[in-house]
């Protein structure tokens, strides 16, 4: 572990200032439309002091905590992918002129600092890094790396898991182990708000060095931090049994459970849109009416839309059960074949933001309880 420092809330504010002074656009959690979303922050006063989020399947409510915590909540409907792989990105545009075909200049990639990245989200960045490092040669995946390389990551460890959190099952939290430049743990100690701050990279150490005025934490403060983080790990809202999970899902393609999910699933695509690792996109070509100006735009897509699996005249996954099965099987099983890890980090967003509260941990558990691998119906194939 690197050297640890401690400060009050003013230190958090100075860190935001220090990042802004280094030319980063600082993005952090703010309250908007009755939820905590990521957007630009100018100072510590923009952080959602005293707010918490109550999360259940299909339900999210903001409430006042009655204390001064800056990070007394978990994750909201937005995630960092909206900055790394924006919902709509112009891949290129250009005009046909008498001089030939001229492309418009591409904008400079923005230089962000992500402030308040939860450990599961740090893990999600790692998942996306793997996806894009293996796919960045594809024109449709371009642009991620240029933004990612410049992004400064300020992680915030979780001392209070939410109702739909299961990072312990996915081994991604509640403490960030790597993948951050600076990590913060917020604790209440002797009635004071204390922020234990550590650097994870030389860049992080440099920023902390520039800030000055950081104290050494007392033994008691470090003990309190460790205690809260250990407690958090024991208080997950959800559990996902991951042993043998890829083989379980791949071997249950014909499980009747998929049809029971189809009865409930709205195929609205919310789960994939809020997922911090779902990266599927579609590419639209647009030509101006006079045929002189072309634009190619990448947009977030979802395996829950019919258009997603449309090929040679038909959608391959017309039934909603097949679409849900595709999503969960990719996320928890075939992702491992592709990228040597699961695509799920246990943040719980897909559970909270499903309008009808379908729970990925519950559905995976239901398949496990009704495992059909040893019966004839369970053998391969697609329903």
């Amino acid at each position: 572990m690197s050297e640890m420092y401690v400060s009050g809330q003013s230190g958090v504010g100075r860190l935001i200032q220090a990042l802004a002074e280094r030319g980063h656009r600082v993005i952090g959690p703010i309250v908007r439309n009755e939820a905590l979303v990521y957007d630009e922050i100018k100072g510590v006063e923009d952080l959602p002091k005293g707010w918490t989020d109550l999360q259940e399947p299909g339900r999210y409510r903001l409430e006042q905590r009655g204390d001064e915590k800056l990070f007394g909540f978990v994750v909201g409907p937005t995630s960092w992918k909206q900055y790394l792989n924006p919902p709509e990105t112009v891949l290129w545009s250009g005009v046909i002129s008498p001089e030939g075909f001229v492309t418009d200049p591409a904008p400079e990639p923005p230089k962000y600092a992500f402030f308040g990245v939860r450990p599961c989200e740090v893990a999600a960045l790692g998942v996306l890094d793997k996806v894009y490092s293996t796919s960045n040669g594809l024109p449709s995946m371009a642009g991620y790396t240029a933004i990612r390389e410049q992004a400064f990551i300020v992680a915030v460890n979780c001392v209070e898991p939410g109702g739909n959190c299961f990072c312990v099952s996915m081994d991604t939290g509640p403490t960030a182990e790597a993948g951050y430049d600076i990590a913060i743990t917020e604790i209440v100690h002797n009635g004071n708000m204390r922020y234990l701050i550590e650097a994870g990279t030389p860049a992080g150490a440099e920023v902390l060095g520039d800030m000055g005025n950081l104290e050494e934490p007392s033994e008691a403060e470090i003990e309190a931090r460790d205690f809260f983080l250990t407690e958090a790990a024991a208080n997950m809202g959800k559990t996902l049994e991951v042993d043998d999970l890829p083989e379980l899902l791949k071997g249950n393609a014909r499980n009747p459970r998929w049809e029971s999910i189809a009865d409930r699933c709205l195929a609205c695509a919310n789960c994939t849109m809020v997922c911090p690792t779902c990266f599927c996109n579609t590419v639209d070509d647009n030509l101006s009416l006079d045929g002189t100006h072309a634009t190619r735009t990448r947009k977030w897509d979802s395996c829950f839309t019919l258009g997603f699996s449309y090929m040679h005249g038909l959608p391959m996954r017309e039934g909603v059960g097949a679409r849900y099965r595709q999503w969960i099987t990719h996320k928890l099983a075939t992702w491992v074949d592709q990228f040597d890890e699961m695509g799920c980090v246990g943040c719980g967003r897909c559970i909270t933001w499903c309008p009808v509260g379908i729970d990925i941990t519950h559905e995976a558990g239901a398949i496990r309880r009704a495992d059909l691998r040893d019966t004839p119906i369970g053998i391969g194939g697609f329903a």
């Binding site: 709205l266 195929a267 639209d284 647009n286 009416l289 017309e318």
Partner: protein, 263 residues
């Protein structure tokens, strides 16, 4: 080479969708440079006779005269595109499909004997073959430009059929149902408006009609958990796209339940 001829026709409707064409402002000149606006009484009194290459039809069929007229328009049109909730689903006036038309006639008009009307308001596709339907109440003006551009460029219009939720998430609007328990038709409604209402913390009213695979019964169950009764569900699904089949089936189902429970 002569430009393709564009015609715009109106049936039972409010004119709002046609006005969306005029509302494209700067792009109107671009449209006029790629198609000959041959028959568009709302824009010009000059009418060039058919046949037409691209015909946009607004409004629903509510009179015997209109039921005849649409066939003549179809005969005059190479491509016929219906625009708006009236033309694609029967519109808000399709609420009369559940009521007694004679009673309306006697109540509203001093001399109903001068009127000829049908018992129903129905979409254009129930009467003639339609090449493409552009949804919305009203349609989105840029989607109209896309339809014209696609026609001129000889391709299929790029109009999504997935849910409004996709647009909400792309623009970063937190879900109003999950976030504050506001009933919303977004999960069963086709995208196209840019998820306007939820961005103002309102639920979706279903202006663009049913999405590609709408699970209306499950959404209705979720609304009931938010405290909406069967009568409230009937009212919600009987809006601008009341007569679109998935919405119609769901509203009929909950009307029967509302009657049974005395709501």
């Amino acid at each position: 080479m002569a430009l393709p001829k564009l015609a715009v026709y109106k049936f039972a409707s409010c004119d709002g969708c046609q006005l969306s064409i005029l509302d494209v402002e700067d792009l109107l000149l671009d449209i006029a440079s790629v198609v000959h606006i041959a028959n568009f009484p709302e824009a010009s009194r000059e009418v060039v006779e058919g046949p037409y290459d691209l015909t946009l039809v607004e409004g629903s069929i509510t009179t015997p005269h209109d039921a005849e007229r649409i066939h003549e328009i179809r005969r005059q049109s190479k491509y016929l595109v219906t625009i708006g909730a009236c033309a694609t689903a029967g519109g808000i006036q399709a609420l009369k499909n559940w009521k007694d038309t004679d009673l309306f006639m006697r109540t509203v008009y001093a001399h109903p004997e001068y009127l000829e009307t049908l018992e129903t308001s129905t979409p254009i596709k129930n009467h003639v073959e339609v090449n493409f339907e552009l949804r919305g109440c009203p349609v989105d003006k840029m989607a109209l430009v896309e339809v014209v551009a696609a026609f001129v460029q000889g391709r299929r219009p790029n109009i999504p059929e997935y849910s409004v939720c996709v647009e909400c998430k792309r623009r970063g609007t937190p879900c109003v149902m999950v976030g504050h328990g506001t009933p919303c038709l977004g999960p069963v409604t086709q995208a196209g408006c840019g998820a306007l209402c939820p961005s103002y913390n309102r639920g979706c009213y279903g202006c663009f009609g049913p999405m590609e695979s709408p699970n209306t019964e499950m959404l209705a169950a979720a609304w009931q958990r938010l405290g909406v009764n069967h009568r409230g569900l009937v009212d919600a699904f009987r809006g601008f796209n009341a007569y679109a089949e998935p919405f119609r089936i769901t509203s009929d189902h909950h009307e029967a339940l509302a009657v049974a429970k005395g709501e």
